[in-house]
């Protein structure tokens, strides 16, 4: 199913919730809508579903204009943050409800499909219970199973895992990825968490303050954010940003650090060079062990947070404040001197307007 938005905008009174945008979703794939609270994710989803009408622009499904059509006349499945089920129906009947509405399946076929979906979402032992007798995670699994049962060409999920436990989220996210990958639906999945977008893969649309900033394959948007705004929105911990000056054969940063990078000649008019650049460095690009060709950045440890899989070191460095993400457990004394190392090939460079000039080079993948 090809969903296309043309010049779509949404205003409520004097407030603009969504600025005019063009958006052609990748058919039969997952598109992640990534952005902070109030970025416009839910507004956009409601327009896609037909729950709201846009203030201007057209919504097309497979080329056909469906702008004025309500959600009931479209074939859409939705899953919300809150676990929404029919409270008086058993789990099995909850999942079966969209199948019964179709009217072309006999009881045995419906039953088979319900069991199949329940097994996929690990709720097969709860089929005879009422939703209220289940935990939050199980209730959301029921809502997901019902949405999947509908086999709608368009499936919209608005932060479906946000009210679940961290570990449960991890588990369910993985199952969802597998279910999406095996299905035919065009899936739209809203989240505030960059890591969730990376784990879901597919395509990512970055939204900020009602604007669609960039859309593309998730890994590509992550690696080549078009602007500082995209880089900030698509980073957790926040990407380190330092002011720099274009100097001979590279970029001069505060505190005497120089990064040897070649800037594209056409992208750096003299004016931009004079106006300065912003260097963006992901926390994970900083290391405590040097490799040949690295630039050393000296500073002082302000805070070290061990999250388990990673240690986040907050450093007051000569280049500016920075956060480094180190794999595993590392010990630092607060106030101690520290040197971090950076491969100049792993930096982003943005011009004075905040547009990307240089992206990190790929490493690792064969």
């Amino acid at each position: 199913m090809q969903l296309t938005l043309e010049g779509v905008a949404k205003r409520v009174g004097a407030a603009t919730h969504l600025y005019p945008l063009d958006f052609a979703l990748q058919p039969r794939a997952v598109t992640v809508l990534l952005g902070a609270t109030q970025a416009g994710k839910t507004t956009l989803m409601r327009l896609m579903a037909g729950l709201d009408a846009p203030s201007q622009g057209r919504v097309r499904v497979d080329g056909e204009d469906v702008t004025g059509r309500s959600v009931r006349e479209r074939n859409v499945a939705m899953v919300y943050q809150q676990f929404i089920n029919y409270p008086s129906l058993r789990v099995a009947d909850n999942i079966a409800s969209p199948l019964k509405l179709r009217g072309d399946l006999d009881r045995a076929a419906i039953d088979r499909r319900v069991r199949e979906l329940a097994a996929k979402l690990h709720i097969e032992t709860f089929l005879d219970r009422l939703p209220a007798e289940l935990s939050g995670g199980q209730q959301q699994r029921v809502a997901l199973a019902r949405a999947l049962a509908k086999q709608a060409p368009l499936m919209l999920l608005d932060e479906p895992l946000v009210n679940l436990d961290y570990k449960l989220r991890e588990e369910l996210r993985e199952e969802l990825s597998a279910l999406f990958a095996g299905g035919d639906s065009t899936v739209v999945y809203a989240t505030t968490e960059p890591t969730e977008a990376l784990l879901l893969g597919g395509y990512t649309a970055v939204l900020d303050a009602g604007e669609l900033l960039q859309y593309g394959p998730t890994a590509e948007v992550f690696r080549r954010p078009r602007s500082i705004r995209v880089a900030r929105a698509f980073s957790d911990p926040p990407i380190n940003l330092w002011q720099g000056r274009v100097a001979e054969s590279g970029i001069q940063l505060a505190g005497d650090a120089r990064l040897a990078v070649s800037l594209p000649a056409n992208a750096t008019p003299a004016a931009a060079a004079e106006a300065g650049v912003t260097v963006g460095v992901r926390a994970s690009a900083l290391r405590v062990r040097p490799r040949p060709g690295d630039v050393a950045l000296a500073g002082r440890v302000e805070l070290a947070e061990i999250s388990g899989s990673d240690t986040f070191v907050h450093v007051a460095a000569a280049v500016g404040p920075l956060v480094a993400q180190l794999t595993g457990v590392h010990y630092f004394k607060l106030g101690a001197a520290i040197t971090l190392y950076l491969d100049p090939a792993q930096i982003h460079v943005f011009d004075a307007r905040g547009d990307l000039l240089v992206a990190p080079q790929r490493s690792g993948a064969r």
């Binding site: 902070a36 890994a219 805070l303 947070e305 595993g328």
Partner: protein, 374 residues
């Protein structure tokens, strides 16, 4: 500020018979004066019950709560002098930010100049100074939650400040700031802080000591590093870390550990424990699994089933015998493809071994050369 000692159990049922009837199984625990603690676990693990027992919202069905040695079991939260911050902002919309922050102090009848100084300090720490005279009603949800945090922290004379999932409604970027703020505030004010969350990153980065809970039991209390590197219970290995620890069924056979059909020699120090255990579980974190040649001695042979680019690292899943093993690989390493045969080294200083009751029985083994006469 107070030292808090718990020696109690709690059931919401009138006549508990078995373990599953208890929201909180018998437990002895102490919270040091001025310490930062987190209670971490999935929903239903008993962490909120534990918090409510400390605050006095719930009275334990058995045992006692002591503050600085004095039995406070029968006292209310007010009498215990507890400050609390909840998941959703609790603010008075019609009041200004300053009045909201001052409210708990005015209630205690503090002199105005003391109130002003304290409110100013807390506002500065939370970066609310610029908004002190605005009405709370017009602020965004995250600013309101900052006020809630400020109200929890504003009193100097509290026994402890309790937080129940306070950052749930906050966006990821602001979470980073607020976590950092809370840590600084803890350093400066030396309040006893107890923080309930299901989010391991929040718990581990906030607290000096984390209590990991499951099914009404505290299975381990330790620093972030201890919980990550030496999980005392398989649940801790699974719950901490993202993704959690890999667990592989293993047994002792002919002088070595047998895992997925491969014999792996271990350090002499472990031989006694592991040979006595016979069958056990090998636990190794994805961060500590390293890639080797498929033919390498001392490595598992596995077939790659999935390779995910997580941006900052690669997550590899491979099947070794019946078990799935995950490895977190640096973006700088060569990444194998799906279907490829690889060697996985699972023994190292951070490898843990668990007995039948899921408790740690041994840990740490450097890869050893196979002895000819094993």
């Amino acid at each position: 500020m107070a030292r808090i000692d718990l020696d109690l159990a709690h059931s919401y049922l009138p006549d508990p018979q078995q373990d599953s009837d208890y929201a909180l199984l018998p437990l002895q625990m102490s919270f040091a004066d001025g310490g930062a603690y987190a209670l971490l676990g999935p929903s239903g693990c008993g962490k909120t019950t534990l918090l409510n027992l400390i605050s006095g919202l719930v009275r334990p069905s058995r045992g006692a709560v002591r503050f600085d040695g004095a039995d406070v079991t029968a006292r209310s939260p007010q009498q215990r002098n507890i400050a609390q911050v909840f998941q959703f902002p609790v603010v008075y919309d019609t009041m200004t930010v300053a009045d909201n922050l001052a409210f708990p102090l005015r209630n205690r009848g503090l002199p105005p100049e003391r109130i002003k100084a304290r409110v100013g300090r807390i506002a500065e720490m939370l970066e609310l100074s610029g908004q002190l005279h605005q009405r709370a009603a017009n602020l965004a949800a995250d600013a309101k939650q900052k006020i809630s945090l400020g109200r929890g922290l504003v009193r100097e004379d509290v026994s402890a400040v309790l937080f129940d999932e306070p950052l749930t409604v906050i966006d990821p970027h602001l979470k980073w700031q607020l976590r950092r703020k809370l840590k600084q505030i803890h350093h400066e004010l030396k309040l006893t802080l107890i923080y309930v969350t299901h989010d391991q990153v929040e718990a581990l980065t906030f607290a000096d000591q984390v209590v990991v809970m499951t099914r009404g039991r505290a299975v381990q209390i330790g620093t972030a590093a201890e919980l990550f590197e030496r999980p005392q219970h398989m649940f801790v290995g699974h719950f901490i870390g993202s993704p959690g620890m890999n667990f592989l069924p293993a047994r002792w056979r002919e002088g070595a550990v047998e895992v997925a059909g491969r014999r792996l020699p271990v350090a002499p120090a472990l031989v006694g424990t592991l040979s006595a255990a016979g069958e056990f579980t090998l636990g190794v974190r994805p961060e500590h699994v390293t890639l080797a040649d498929a033919s390498a001695e001392g490595a598992l042979v596995a077939e790659v089933t999935q390779v995910l680019d997580i941006g900052t690292y690669w997550l590899l899943t491979a099947r070794a015998g019946e078990a799935l093993v995950r490895a977190r690989l640096s973006p700088a390493s060569a990444i194998p493809q799906v279907g490829e045969q690889v060697g996985l080294e699972v023994l190292g200083p951070h490898t843990c071994f668990y007995g039948r009751d899921q408790q740690l029985i041994a840990a740490g083994s450097e890869p050893q050369a196979l002895r000819a006469s094993a």
